[in-house]
């Protein structure tokens, strides 16, 4: 699978910048989903990447080009210490849970509540049940794992003293799992889909490992986002994401100032 939605070089329109934030419990695969989307890559036993929690990916939708500015949690979700700045002006959010951990869906629900409280009221939210590869019967497993082992995973789910090392090990555990089958599933598609529908969220099951469903998350978000509205409001205060905002033209009360003046020319040149 290649990143199919990437725009060709001769993209006609100026890209619409969309700030997208990731949310969800530690180790559900947030960073992996983005890595799959942006670089079409997957790393088992992935250690939290240092120095990369902000990726961009362009996505073409009919005649428009969307530039997703994707904010990763940088581990600040671990002790629920994400800052208001993180949610600020996000136009989209992907809330991830792990289909093999029922507690991670409960966590996802609290993140959705947090978004409703802190984020832009028009934010487009997608719920993604990740690691669906672990519950696909097609795998090389010879017999289904017992529900007991899955339950022991669950115990760790809300472990407030988990460390990055623990998480990596835990992920690796699942990754190299002996048994992979539908019986590892702790969250049924129906249950999660029902919840998503109630709350007006887009819903997907994904696998960062195989790529299943990943691109769809972002293209469906792109379709649902009021792009024209964003383009129009790029000039108003609070209308657009981060550093892109002030560029459209002078806002009421004066334009933003660009502190990176020397570098900005260079960056702009390669951005389109």
């Amino acid at each position: 699978m290649s990143a199919p939605a990437a725009a060709p070089a001769e993209a006609p329109a100026r890209p619409v910048q969309v700030k997208l934030v990731l949310l969800g419990e530690s180790a559900v695969g947030k960073s992996s989903v983005v890595l799959r989307f942006c670089q079409n890559d997957f790393q088992a036993n992935k250690e939290p990447t240092i120095g990369a929690a902000f990726l961009t990916q362009r996505c073409r939708l009919e005649d428009k080009v969307i530039k997703f500015e994707i904010w990763d949690t940088a581990g600040q979700e671990r002790f629920r210490s994400l800052s208001p700045m993180y949610y600020r002006n996000a136009q989209a959010a992907v809330v991830v849970y792990d289909v093999t951990k029922s507690a991670s869906l409960e966590q996802a629900k609290t993140w959705v509540k947090e978004l409703q409280r802190q984020a832009n009221p028009n934010i487009v939210i997608a719920l993604a049940g990740n690691k669906v590869d672990l519950v696909r019967p097609s795998s090389d497993s010879d017999e289904p794992s017992t529900p007991t082992s899955a339950t022991s995973d669950d115990d760790e789910a809300d472990d407030a003293t988990a460390t990055p090392e623990d998480d990596a090990a835990e992920g690796g555990d699942e990754e190299g799992a002996v048994a992979a089958s539908e019986s590892r599933r702790q969250v049924s598609r129906e249950e999660a889909e029902e919840y998503a529908k109630e709350c007006g969220l887009l819903f997907f099951e994904t696998s960062a490992k195989t790529g299943e469903g990943v691109v769809e998350v972002f293209t469906e978000i792109a379709k649902k986002i009021p792009l024209d509205h964003i383009l129009a409001s790029t000039r108003g205060p609070g209308g657009a994401a981060g550093r892109g905002a002030g560029r459209g033209g002078p806002a009421a009360g004066g334009a933003s100032v660009n502190l990176n003046e020397e570098e900005s020319a260079k960056k702009d040149a390669c951005a389109c």
Binding site: Q57, G75, R78, F79, S81, S83, G253, G254
Partner: protein
Amino acid sequence: MDEEYDFIILGTGLTECVLSGLLSVEGKKVLHMDRNDYYGAESASLNLTQLYKRFRNSEPPAELGRDRDYAVDLIPKFMMANGEMTRMLVHTDVTRYLEFKQIAGSYVLRDGRIAKVPSTEMEAVRSSLMGLFEKRRAKKFFEWVQNYREDDLATHQGVDLDKTPMKDVYYKFGLEAGTQDFIGHAMSLHLDDTYMTRPARETYDRIVLYTSSMARYGKSPYIYPLYGLGELPQGFARLSAIYGGTYMLDKPVEEIVYDDKGKFVGVKSGGETVKAAKVIGDPSYFSDESGKGKGEDKIFLEGRVVRAICILKHPIPNTDDSDSVQLIIPQNQVGRKHDIYIAEVSSTHNVCAKDVYIAMVSTVVETNDPEAELEPGLKLLGPIYDKFVEVAPIFSPASSGSYDNVFVTRSYDSTSHFETVCDDVKDVWRRAIGSELVLKKREDGEGIQEAA
């Protein structure tokens, strides 16, 4: 938690967050905690609920509008456009998380009237603030500043910046008291007149910073982050987290644990002791019994500032309806030893609802009735919708930390910008790391991973 850290950092104020970010980038293992459930400590920006809870323990009045529209700063500071904080933001690339706007105007009280601070030296020379002959003398002074070259003695005109007191420089150029006030207070942003007897370099540097900041965007030397100053610590905290820093808010610190020689061991929170080689923290974490090691004081009281956060329904009168201003009341104008500062921001900076203005009046406490000392400033504001007054202690570390591995930061002082915060960051770095802080441009290219 049996992990051991290089640094535990207590309090998520700006100073601590900048340090946390820089230390993490340097590869240090950092655990950063705050007793509050929000970022920023004393440099936080609060929403309405948090604001009324902190000062009144009550709910905010409904007519002020939506909670989320507010980000009210607890300390009145702006960023010098060409200052050190700007450089730190740019070098660490924290600018990518933030957006800045100018502060629209800079004003000074002169003979009971509010006057605009001229935006360049030459404008000052042309303005009505000076008489004809004084203008000529001031022009000569500013030319000297502009032409001064360290390695060209002829340009010094006999002044040794490291020896000649500022008052002698004023004397040399024959500048009147009013002009001295303007240069020393409105431009150099000295809070009192003690600078007069100190070597001129300090004031010279401040004039250069002021004029170069002014030259950068035009209207005033100041810029300000949208959504309030609280965005700055959050931005640096994110930098730290990206480089592996661990963040825990809402963590009460029960005890700072020392060994029997009084050296730092760890921090006790929730009944557990987390160990680290060193601790950095804001003074509030060392100001009670539990923070003192073996009867030794970690901090001392340097002075106090009084601040009044005022909610207005109109811009400050006589400031050309500006959406944001700094207004300085020089000490001499009101018979004080320290200047009174007024800092105003508004919905233009996304810190309050439309048609609301947030003005903060502050000064260094000189008497037993601090609130009364703000009166000359408060009366320039017009009707005040609501007002929150606070007297804040200014603490300094009592020792370098080299013995006990405890590195205490300074409280936010009464200066109107972040230059002293940057000085403190460098000072703590020097004490805790043992070398000078060298800002490196981030080259990791976070975000450069664009799809082809």
